[in-house]
């Protein structure tokens, strides 16, 4: 048992919510809801995660120890060629893999960080970025989540500290605060191996906080993963990442689980502290839809924001119809600073949820809750 804390909310009308329920509290869940059934649509047998392929693509005649001395422009050119699998499948001892190359590029990115929509340009080896992070990444107690979208449930959840957004309704402030938890690295695999529930996981999810800002450490950790690991890698992010982040994780992530929080910049500024959320999130979707990875867009229905945010977001998502899956989250509970915002200091109404669902249907967006095995089919 992980021994982690589990957060619960009890609304005034008596509804009980367990936040991020895991296999470690399945007994509790069964006592509260005897009819609870774990919904899971795992990937097909023999599934090979993208990062395992990427670590087997080699850059000819570039030894891994030579990567640090090559200039960045050349590294990016090699990266793009390798992504297109332009190289013959031949390698010699010490040839750098595409994953090695990505790690080198990610390290360089940290020297002038532009991983998130802030593009703060901070040298994270010397100071902390807007996300509150230096070069290292830290994670909270891992657990196996039992109530994510069925296609990624149950999933081993790695919650990383740090986030570039300051959402007033954040439920995860405890893990987004940068504090010395466990440093992400090769030790992750020992931690997971010693978790009695990990063998039942059907996916490996990096969440947070927000994982984008920890991309370098994630790549390094995956480079040390057991060769036998066959779980799809899920990146559960806030939708506020830069194009360079998506390039670095192309060929590594199998499922992008990205928020699309707002439909206008005024709400993004007021509630998450960023003035360009919509533009950044739209560009992010263009990037993920250009990859082999699946994209699930999560939309948390906020009270009072159906018209200004969710309707407009759905209109934007319609452009990506057929390439994305939609996950509508209808269980908002005010948290953190939400009580200081009169519009957010209430539960979302049934009418608001119905309106968002009907609107999503009218745009022909696919609901991931209705996805079966077709989710995992190659396109």
């Amino acid at each position: 048992m992980s021994g982690r804390s589990i957060k619960c909310n009890i609304t005034e009308d008596g509804r009980l919510f367990i936040v991020d329920p895991g296999l470690d509290c399945l007994g509790l869940i069964k006592k509260l809801w005897p009819d609870f059934r774990l919904q899971a649509v795992p990937p097909p047998p023999g599934f090979m995660p993208s990062f395992q392929r990427t670590r087997r693509i080699f850059i000819p005649e570039i030894a891994s120890d030579k990567l640090p001395i090559l200039d960045t422009a050349r590294l990016w050119k090699l990266h793009e060629r390798a992504l297109k699998e332009d190289f013959e499948n031949l390698f010699f001892n010490n040839d750098a893999s595409l994953l090695d190359l990505k790690i080198e590029l990610a390290r360089r990115e940290l020297q002038r960080c532009g991983l998130c929509g802030w593009q703060c340009g901070v040298n994270r080896f010397k100071e902390k970025g807007r996300c509150g992070l230096g070069p290292d990444a830290y994670y909270d107690e891992p657990f196996v989540h039992v109530a994510e979208e069925a296609v990624i449930t149950p999933c081993a959840m790695i919650r990383l500290a740090g986030c570039a957004l300051t959402c007033v309704f954040c439920q995860a402030r405890e893990s987004s605060a940068p504090r010395p938890l466990k440093q992400l690295g090769s030790g992750l695999w020992d931690a997971l191996a010693s978790d009695e529930y990990f063998p039942r996981a059907a996916a490996l999810e990096f969440g947070g906080g927000n994982p984008d800002e920890s991309a370098c450490a994630i790549l390094e950790a995956l480079a040390a993963a057991p060769g036998s690991l066959r779980l799809p890698v899920v990146m559960n992010d806030n939708g506020y990442a830069s194009p360079v982040l998506y390039r670095l994780l192309d060929g590594v992530v199998d499922v992008w689980l990205a928020d699309f929080k707002y439909g206008n910049d005024a709400c993004g500024r007021k509630l998450s502290g960023v003035g360009n959320y919509v533009e950044v999130a739209e560009e992010g979707l263009r990037q993920t839809c250009g990859q082999k990875a699946k994209t699930i867009v999560r939309m948390l229905v906020l009270p009072g924001h159906v018209e200004c945010c969710h309707e407009k977001t759905l209109e934007k998502l319609a452009v990506f119809r057929g390439k994305i899956w939609l996950s509508i989250i209808d269980s908002y509970v005010p948290d953190w600073k939400a009580r200081n915002h009169p519009d957010l200091n209430r539960l979302v109404s049934e009418g608001e949820i119905v309106r968002v669902r009907e609107s999503a249907r009218s745009y022909g967006l696919k609901d991931v809750a209705e996805a079966g095995e077709e989710f995992w089919k190659e396109e």
Binding site: N9, I10, E12, G14, W33
Partner: protein, 162 residues
């Protein structure tokens, strides 16, 4: 034995002001309550509650009962169900997470029961020795008699962080 706890109350928060019911209940019981520590900040009104003279094992039951009195009947019913299920599953409600609670929801944290009682200042051994609440004071019995069990059981687990 003299024991005390701090109950931080945000003056501006309507939900948390209802925790004042806890204090009033304690005062009615003749338990010393003194307002203290203004240096902790103007947003808070910490009170120190002196439990000297009370039997140790009354401590937690009194607080939980008084807390329940400040909740809606539906919240109380769900809290009672949660308490029971948590206790049978190796968890305990360690902390009333007041800083994250708001008018529309009570936020709680469950921890493996080894740490139960730390917040309230009681040791685990003391906590285990607590007697069950008498039925005439037990809100769960009142709720169940009032037929509200079904309402609370309609709840569904929620998995996705926001």
């Amino acid at each position: 034995m003299s024991r005390s706890i701090f109950i931080p109350l945000r003056r501006t928060d309507p939900f948390l002001r209802r925790f004042g019911a806890v204090i009033r209940r304690l005062e009615l019981e003749g338990i010393g309550v003194k307002h203290a520590a203004p240096e902790m900040g103007i947003a808070f009104e910490p009170v120190s509650v002196d439990f000297s003279g009370l039997p140790d094992n009354m401590f937690q039951g009194e607080i939980l009962y008084a807390l329940k009195q400040s909740l809606s009947p539906e919240q109380t019913a769900s809290l009672c169900l949660l308490e029971g299920a948590a206790a049978k599953s190796g968890f305990a409600i360690e902390q009333k997470d007041q800083d994250h609670s708001c008018e529309t929801a009570l936020s709680l944290v469950l921890k493996p029961s080894e740490s139960f009682g730390e917040l309230l200042g009681t040791s685990f051994e003391e906590t285990k020795a607590l007697p069950p609440a008498s039925e005439d004071l037990d809100p769960i019995s009142q709720m169940l008699r009032a037929g509200r069990k079904e309402r609370a059981l309609e709840a569904v687990p929620h998995g996705k962080a926001q």
